[in-house]
């Protein structure tokens, strides 16, 4: 298990580093923040002072070295906008996004498993047709449009929920419903496909013939084997939620990391942008590793511990194993 984890971490670290360097470089290309933060009639002296104070006149490599030095000490610099430490701002915004994404993903997975399994019980049946069309439509709706229409219908016309903010519990409903659509739509199709395959396998017939209840057959035997492909896609979708969050958070005024990123880009708040991207990249990185681990737990065929153990077999042990006919587990 540890060999697997180590190898996985090393191979995912390269994209992580490239992303961080890339954001650093791209952010510098957006122009000098001095023209945005100083009044129009600022003197040349004031501009130079501002640039020097924030270290924007250093060569790029020096700036980058300073930045990475800071990151290692968990010092992400100071926001140009508010003067607060960027790390604190990002950490304050992160839980809001995490809660939103977490609840959305959980709901999407639960609903998709129920609907997908139900549809798979009778391929081409009425449930299957309705659910496959609905899921296709759900996956095709642009989130920003759905958000606006949701605000129009439920917030403005009916007045059931607030248009934006996080003040009341009802304000969670619209953002979650909007974010839910795409992951739900995609997952239903995946779960359905995997379940159709899994339900036609011989072990299902065996489970039925030994008298297992239909619920048990579906939930224990079929679902467990259909879970692996769904898990992979769910991981990609969770990463995609960060993209969706940028749009949905800015429409609903959700104080999350997506809104923070857009605001920092528009205001050239480099320190905050870098910290936000770093945190996002690290959480994607962690998520991917968690998914790989979950995959290994679910599917014995890719369970890495067995492979690793075989590889580490010493010649003596191999000899012993050959003599010992009993297969070792």
């Amino acid at each position: 298990m540890w060999t697997f984890l180590r190898r996985r971490i090393i191979s995912s670290a390269l994209p992580l580093i490239v992303v961080i360097v890339g954001v650093f470089a791209l952010a510098r290309l957006t122009g000098n923040p001095a023209s945005l933060y100083l009044p129009l009639n600022a003197t040349e002296q004031m501009r130079t002072d501002f640039t020097e104070r924030n270290g924007f006149d250093d060569p790029l490599l020096v700036q980058m070295a300073n930045y990475f030095g800071g990151v290692l000490r968990l010092d992400f610099g100071v926001s140009l906008r508010t003067g607060e430490p960027a790390g604190e701002m990002v950490l304050r915004a992160f839980p809001a996004t995490l809660q939103l994404a977490g609840v959305t993903m959980l709901l999407a997975v639960v609903l998709a498993v129920i609907v997908g399994s139900w549809a798979a019980l009778k391929p081409n049946g009425i449930v299957d047709r309705i659910s496959s069309f609905a899921s296709m439509a759900a996956a095709s709706i642009p989130d920003f449009w759905l958000a606006i229409m949701g605000i129009w219908v439920f917030a403005i016309t009916l007045g059931w929920v607030p248009t934006s903010g996080v003040d009341s519990p009802t304000s969670w409903l619209l953002p979650i419903a909007v974010l839910l659509m795409r992951p739900f739509g995609v997952l239903v199709q995946i779960v359905r496909g995997a379940m159709v395959t899994s339900l036609s396998e011989p072990y299902i017939k065996l489970a039925r013939s030994k008298g297992a209840s239909e619920v048990r057959v579906v939930s224990r035997h079929a679902l467990r084997n259909a879970a692996a492909p769904a898990l992979t896609v769910a991981g990609d979708l969770a990463v995609g939620l960060i993209n969706g969050a940028v749009v949905v958070e800015s429409i609903f005024g959700w104080p999350g990391i997506g809104k923070l990123m857009i605001d920092s880009i528009l205001q050239r708040d480099f320190a905050v942008l870098q910290a936000a991207v770093l945190l996002t990249a690290v959480s994607i990185f962690a998520l991917n590793i968690l998914i790989d681990l979950g995959y290994a737990l679910l599917d014995a065929r890719v369970r890495p511990s067995d492979r690793a153990r075989k590889r580490r077999v010493t010649p003596a042990a191999a000899q012993e194993r050959k003599l010992n006919v009993q297969p070792t587990r």
């Binding site: 995912s12 390269l14 994209p15 992580l16 490239v18 992303v19 890339g22 954001v23 791209l26 952010a27 290309l29 957006t30 798979a120 019980l121 009778k122 391929p123 081409n124 049946g125 296709m136 439509a137 996956a139 095709s140 709706i141 642009p142 989130d143 920003f144 449009w145 759905l146 606006i148 229409m149 605000i151 129009w152 403005i156 159709v196 395959t197 339900l199 036609s200 017939k205 039925r208 990463v239 960060i242 993209n243 940028v246 749009v247 800015s250 990123m261 857009i262 880009i265 528009l266 991207v277 996002t280 990249a281 994607i284 990185f285």
Partner: protein, 337 residues
């Protein structure tokens, strides 16, 4: 594929084959006699036909619409501002209502169709060509070429693509050409991965080995033996990607870093209608509906294409509607449980 019953490539003389033994998978006579072309297969599927027609209409609108509409999309009629839709009081051009400057929604939608497609299609085309060729090349040669290509794909994929687009478009001015480039760049890995996987599998097949034995150059093997096999998969993928790219362009335009006014795209129209939501809902509703309809149509067509271009599954489409159920794997109730 030993049974002639499930072979879509049945020769014209297929009728002389022994009669089907199982009634359930018997093909209709007329179909078994001829080799069904793709177009005929399409007409057999109502949903896929409808989807194709919708896409065709959207394409025609983009191609001819702006000329037909003339300057209607920009002409302001201040006596007819924020006209609600479905009323012919102000003339046919206001059938879908008008915006706050009294411009016809219908005309603006038609012009926006052209803008939206002229971003989405080139972006899909560029990433399809580059990603596929690169992937096929990497998968065919294996070794370091494959490893390096896959790492590059990983790097691009692990970047939140919308964020990348936001940053890049903010740095360089948000013009249509830049949007096409950034969308193409972020979607190349999708084709790269698929093409590599397929081509890596193909290059170990016997027919490729045979070509190699005869001394065919790798470039010729890729062109004549690998690409024709991989192409259907990639084209299906491209249909799906078209939806993604269109949605991405709309999102960017919505955030204000995509298509810039006075140009108009569907996503931008939704964004512009947002501030009139309380008084003029149609400004946001219709362009969004246009996006949804086009995307769903492309999705349906892609789902059909996936089956139709797969020789192992194509026979499913030639069956009569009611019989599909029996052929689909895993009947629960029919199983005689």
């Amino acid at each position: 594929m030993s049974s002639p019953l499930v072979n879509p490539q049945l020769p014209p003389g297929g009728r002389s084959v022994a009669p089907p033994s199982t009634e359930v998978i018997a093909l209709p006579r007329s179909l078994a006699a001829t080799k069904p072309g793709l177009f005929h297969l399409l007409l057999k599927d109502r949903f896929a036909t409808a989807a194709a027609v919708v896409l065709l209409l959207v394409g025609l609108t983009a191609l001819l619409g702006p000329t037909l509409m003339g300057d209607l999309a920009t002409k302001q009629n201040l006596s007819a501002t924020n006209q609600p839709p479905f009323s012919l009081a102000e003339g046919w051009q206001f059938i879908l209502g008008s915006d706050s400057l009294g411009r016809s929604m219908l005309a603006r939608l038609v012009v926006a169709t052209q803008t939206t497609l002229s971003v989405a299609l080139p972006a899909v085309g560029i990433s399809l060509v580059i990603g596929s060729l690169w992937g096929v090349w990497a998968g065919f040669h294996r070794g370091w070429r494959e490893t390096v290509s896959m790492r590059i794909a990983d790097v691009i994929m692990s970047f939140p693509s919308l964020l990348l687009a936001v940053v890049v478009l903010y740095v360089f001015s948000p013009s249509a050409a830049n949007i096409v480039l950034i969308l193409a760049l972020t979607r190349i890995p999708i084709y790269l991965r698929t093409a590599r996987a397929e081509s890596a599998e193909l290059q170990s097949r016997t027919f490729v080995d045979a070509a190699r034995t005869f001394g065919t150059k790798p470039s010729a093997i890729i062109r004549r033996h690998v690409i024709p096999v991989v192409l259907p998969t990639l084209l299906t993928l491209a249909t799906l990607e078209f939806c993604y790219v269109m949605l991405a362009e709309s999102s960017l335009s919505f955030l204000g870093i995509g298509i810039q006014p006075p140009d108009v795209s569907w996503g931008l129209m939704v964004a512009q209608g947002r501030q009139y939501l309380q008084t003029a809902w149609w400004l946001s509703l219709f362009p969004g509906l246009a996006i949804v309809i086009t995307t769903v149509a492309a999705n349906v067509l892609a789902a059909w294409l996936r089956i139709a271009t797969d020789p192992a599954q194509r026979w499913r489409l030639t069956l009569k509607h009611k019989r599909k159920r029996f052929i689909a794997r895993m009947p629960v109730k029919e199983d005689g449980r």
